[in-house]
């Protein structure tokens, strides 16, 4: 328990250094754009692939679970939309991103730590935490909610492809379901969750990388610890945000 409180304290101390005015705005914005590519755009293929398959699977599962003739077939589309929007495109995609970009950030910063590159930054008078971590957090928190929207749309396309290519449900029923009782706040809810989750992924994994010590084994361990901690935090904050926002 003591160790957990120590880690939380160290995390907030690091964040205190991260959220300072950058030494050079021009350098920060250049890094910000580079980080959008590294933590956001590079994740587009994996998010698209996962989403299209999950959208298709949800459609099939929903269809087989609605066996009663009293329930309209359009509910298959409705269930696909709600599942994608409320949970999959934010929480599940965030867990996928925790594995992909979380490990990359923790190992990148961890390697910089053990090869003294972070010390070199400090000696030059650069706030290394601010220089290395702030662009990653801002890029992921601002850009990656768009991945949630993309995942949502591609997931629905995955379900539509099932409707188009099988006799489980007709495309017309599926589209009707997608239009049924749509609450636009759910989009806002998903975007807020995705922004919070991406803040967690980048800041927590950077924290583990920044505090790595020793050799390559410790860098690997810090990446693993980073992913595990990110995943746990995402699940906890998913519960809290859902309770607060819905």
């Amino acid at each position: 328990m003591y160790r957990i409180f120590t880690l939380i304290g160290q995390y907030f101390l690091l964040m205190n250094n991260v959220f300072k005015k950058p030494d050079r705005s021009a350098v920060f914005w250049k890094q910000f754009v580079q980080e959008i590519e590294k933590v956001g755009l590079s994740s587009v293929p994996i998010v698209a692939i996962v989403s299209v398959f999950i959208g298709a699977v949800i459609t099939i599962q929903a269809s087989y679970n609605i066996s009663s003739p009293l329930i309209p077939k359009a509910y298959v589309g409705f269930m696909t939309r709600e599942t994608m929007l409320l949970e999959f495109s934010s929480t599940m995609i965030a867990l996928v991103l925790a594995g992909k970009i979380g490990s990359s950030i923790a190992s990148e910063i961890g390697t910089m730590r053990i090869t003294e590159q972070i010390d070199a930054l400090e000696i030059m008078g650069v706030n290394s935490a601010n220089y290395l971590i702030l662009p990653k957090i801002t890029a992921a928190t601002i850009f990656n909610p768009l991945l949630m929207l993309m995942s949502f749309i591609i997931g629905l396309v995955g379900g539509w492809m099932i409707a188009l290519t099988t006799d489980i449900i007709t495309p017309a029923h599926y589209i009707d379901g997608l239009r049924m009782e749509f609450k636009s706040f759910y989009i806002v809810y998903g975007l807020i969750k995705m922004a919070v989750f991406n803040f967690i992924i980048t800041s927590v994994s950077a924290f583990y990388g920044y505090n790595a010590s020793g050799g390559s084994r410790e860098v690997g361990r810090s990446a693993t610890n980073g992913i595990v901690s990110c995943s746990l935090c995402i699940l906890i904050f998913n519960l809290i945000l859902t309770h607060v926002l819905l």
Partner: protein, 250 residues
Amino acid sequence: MIKANHLYKSFEGKPVLQDVSVVFDENKTNLIIGASGSGKTVLLKSLVGLHDVDAGEIWFDDVLYTAQSFEQKKRLRRQIGMLFQGGALFDFATVEENIRFPMDMFTDWSAEEKKERVHFCLQRVQLENVEQLYPAALSGGMQKRVGIARAIALNPRYLFCDEPNSGLDPRTSIVIDKLIHEITHDFKITTIINTHDMNSVMEIGEKVVFIHNGIKHWEGTADEIFHTGNAELDDFVFASKMARELKAEH
């Protein structure tokens, strides 16, 4: 001049530096020598502020470094250049970008001025046509030279080198030693080098400080090192047969 007064540092209760007081001479090549694990790297990193000392004072000329705030330390560090044991070059950047980095962060120089300065620094460390290479494509000696070029990019007043010869062959070691020595005098820098290489002591040591088990045991010039009468220092300096023969000749 860099001065340390009664420095203490421990890690998890284990003392690493104990009451170390030493003055490093201005515009000279000062060497900290000692066996592996003697505390010399901790002393060097404490001097530059990478480790916070438990007690004691560190002065950079008339500035009490240990009493400064985070922001004040950041400003002073812009006058410090450091060469790390492994080079510590940014592996995401080319040689040119590595040397230009402090200029990008702290100057308003034009692109042309920065390019000229990079060229000058590379010429000074006798490297050519490597601007577009990444650190991984350089040999150990070349990485050290690029590290020196980056360290002198903003004309520092103080230069710290942590084991600049580690992993280098004897000939390259001498080249690096001489380069640091020349730069110290050309740019009027106060240089502190951490080493256990006795060749460095004899080649460039203007002031030598010997650390053993975290305690300063001796300080003096390279010439005086043969006649100190300090048992721990003699044990370290004359560990090899060649050194013992050299002592006999003296």
